[in-house]
């Protein structure tokens, strides 16, 4: 290798889970990383996702690949981020006969995906979760957990920062420096000092989530995005100890997640073009109340704490353009634009779920290292992350005191 | 683990005496409660018992000549001055002075307290002796 590892400079665009994972992975492998985020870290989709550390049960029947990925990552994350989850497990709850029909295929699919399950009769289920709908017919326990989306991802950023990554918040990417099919850097605008500057890079990783399309467009590339917002409702009062899922094909409002003193009900799914300010339709919020009340009747009269929406950056498979975005596979995709569009020096990583952020980062980092001819294996699966507070306590003041 | 972080996190002028803060505060609270009693006695004995609320010179002298009154008044003076000085110290410490300045303030207040107590005892003594 001509230069030392620190000689290679990678610019990561986007301060969400994917950006955090990639910055951590590449810094751990020894590369010099600069990350640009136009707002605060995790202020995009990452901060606002449901907060479920999926066991994969939800996708076992419909998306086996996604499910297997989830359970693998679920275990890794518990190992590398100890103490960051409410590890109470999850329950898939069958309420109607139609749900009961799903049980056999659900159990088989879970087993095939390597997801441990325990079946509970109604009496046992009500003992575990007293607020559960008394009409419960069957409950299947899986290793779900509750996540604090901001703090888990902040651990990745804190570790990356500790390993030398330069995390620049409130810095917006206004363009990509590219000529004759090669991206050599980014044009950055510091929102605080109102200053424009250019940042050269050996590889630019586009981890901008729902905005990946806009970043790709800066180099004339059409990233096949499908933006699918979902509404989430947080109500005051913790109505369940563990994550409650409705046992049927994934649809709206069928997960209740306990988090601190709140219960978060989600989610819905539709398709939009503009990722910026997704609306929070009142009828969706009403639907959350209705669907949530099926699992836990007390939710119907729970006091609303907040309702918001977040945009899922899904990968539109070139063939099927889905109506609600839910049909699309929930695995992630990593585009090396040298292969896909003949543009060197730009990698886009998008799609997937929060639970699989480490795996997404690993595959993106592998692609980057392969492009740069660096043969350093990924070790994020065995490296315990720094505490989230380290991001603040070890951050040197950027603008001087 | 938490202990070693302690000094690294916040260098301290005064080494952690373990009882650094609690004694000062408890004394302030105890002296305050004591004052409710002592001040109550002082006001009632001095101003309410007497018709018109004020004693002329002779009555004051005779009142102070009684040793029990002398003892209670002296205790009252000490506790009151102690409470007052701690109170002023708490107010001044709210200005966020440096540790060194705060140490100086504490010493000055002790001196002021002693001076005030000295003066008070001198007053009581001269009156009681009926010069």
């Amino acid at each position: 290798m001509a230069r030392s590892l620190r000689g290679w400079h990678v610019v990561v665009v986007g301060g969400g889970a994917t950006g955090g994972g990639v910055a951590h992975d590449l810094s751990l492998r020894g590369l010099r990383v600069t990350l640009l985020e136009r707002g605060e870290l995790t202020s995009g989709t990452t901060g606002r996702h449901h907060g479920v550390l999926h066991s994969g049960g939800r996708y076992a029947v419909s998306d086996r690949e996604s499910a297997t990925e989830c359970i693998k990552e679920n275990r890794i994350l518990r190992r590398i981020a100890p103490g960051s989850f409410e590890c109470n497990g999850g329950l898939f709850v069958a309420l109607t006969d139609e749900d009961m029909d799903h049980v056999p295929s659900f159990l088989n699919a879970c087993e095939a995906s390597g997801i441990p399950t325990t079946v509970h009769e109604p009496a046992a289920a009500l003992q575990l979760e007293p607020n559960l709908n008394p009409g419960v017919k069957l409950a299947v326990a899986v290793p779900d957990a509750s996540v604090d989306p901001m703090r888990l991802v902040l651990r990745f950023f804190a570790t990356a920062q500790r390993n030398g990554a330069d995390l620049r918040t409130f810095t917006e990417v206004t363009g990509l420096v590219h000529s004759n099919g090669m991206v050599t850097g980014v044009l950055a605008h510091d929102l605080v000092l109102q200053r424009d500057y250019e940042l050269s890079a050996d590889v630019v990783v586009n981890a901008a989530g729902p905005w990946s399309g806009q970043v790709g467009a800066c180099a004339g590339i059409d990233v096949p995005m499908q933006l699918s917002p979902g509404v989430l409702l947080a109500v005051r009062g913790r109505y369940c100890g563990r994550v409650l899922n409705r046992l049927h094909n994934p649809s709206d409002g069928d997960i209740i997640l306990p988090q601190r003193e709140l219960s978060v009900i989600g989610t819905t799914s539709w398709v939009v073009d503009d990722p910026d300010v997704p609306p929070v339709p009142a009828d969706h919020v009403a639907k959350m109340y209705a669907e949530g009340a099926k699992l836990v009747p007390a939710i119907a009269s729970a006091q609303r704490r907040s309702a918001w929406s977040a945009v899922r950056p899904l990968v539109a498979s070139s063939t099927a353009t889905a109506a609600t975005g839910r049909e699309l596979s929930r695995t992630f995709q990593c585009f090396d634009h040298k292969q896909t569009d003949g543009v060197e020096g730009l990698v886009t990583i998008t799609g997937g779920k929060a639970t699989t952020l480490r795996a997404m980062a690993e595959s993106a980092a592998d692609v980057v290292c392969a492009k740069l001819g660096i043969d350093v294996p990924c070790s994020t699966a065995d490296t315990v992350l720094a505490p989230h507070s380290a991001y603040y306590t070890e951050r040197s003041a950027r603008y001087g005191t | 683990m938490a202990a070693d972080l302690n000094d690294r996190v916040r260098p301290r002028a005064v080494p952690p005496s373990g009882r650094g803060g609690s004694l000062a505060w408890i004394l302030q609270a105890v002296s305050g409660v004591a004052l409710i009693v002592l001040l109550g006695v002082h006001i009632v004995a001095q101003h309410f018992v007497v018709k018109g609320g004020l004693r002329d010179y002779a009555q004051v002298v005779s009142y102070l000549s009684n040793p029990l009154v002398l003892a209670v008044e002296s205790l009252f003076v000490v506790v009151l001055i102690w409470h007052a000085m701690l109170g002023i110290r708490a107010v001044l410490f709210d200005f966020g002075f440096s540790a060194k300045t705060e140490a100086v303030i504490s010493r000055c207040l002790v001196a002021l307290g002693l001076a005030t107590a000295g003066y008070s005892f001198w007053v009581i003594a001269t009156i009681a002796s009926g010069r």
């Binding site: - | 916040r10 609270a29 018109g52 004020l54 010179y57 002023i88 007053v123």
Partner: protein
């Protein structure tokens, strides 16, 4: 790892800082109690030294004391004296609340304690004023 000290927290300048919490516009009952306790406390210390100064006359002998006595008898002065009693009541009873609450007793009802302290002070003050002006 950079050294971690807490010195970097900027206060709004010393005097401004103290004045900051003196303005009670957007503060709650707890702050009202804190500020009243502080103001009455300082006033009482002021009175303590005034009182010690006047007692000096007693040491001068009967003549100077009786001249001052007349001054103390007129009703205007009595009004001032009653204010002193009010401050003592407020500071004392609020101080009692702080002593209890400050050691974790009745913390949940701290506002109720403050309300009782103030109302008891008010009632006793009325009794004292009546007694002073010889009504009772």
């Amino acid at each position: 790892m950079t050294s971690t000290t807490v010195h970097t927290r900027p206060t709004r300048g010393r005097v401004r800082g103290v004045l900051a919490y003196a303005n009670l516009r957007r503060r709650h009952l707890g702050s009202v109690a804190f500020v009243t306790n502080r103001i009455t406390g300082l006033l009482l210390v002021g009175y303590l030294y005034l009182h010690l100064g006047i007692l000096y006359l007693l040491t001068e002998g009967p003549r100077s004391w009786t001249t001052v006595l007349h001054l103390f008898k007129n009703p205007a002065f009595l009004g001032l004296e009653s204010l002193l009693i009010l401050f003592i009541l407020i500071h004392g009873l609020n101080g009692l609340r702080l002593a209890l609450v400050g050691t974790g007793v009745g913390v949940r009802h701290q506002k109720a304690w403050f309300a009782t302290a103030m109302s008891v002070s008010g009632c006793l003050y009325v009794v004292v004023v009546l007694a002073m002006y010889g009504v009772i």
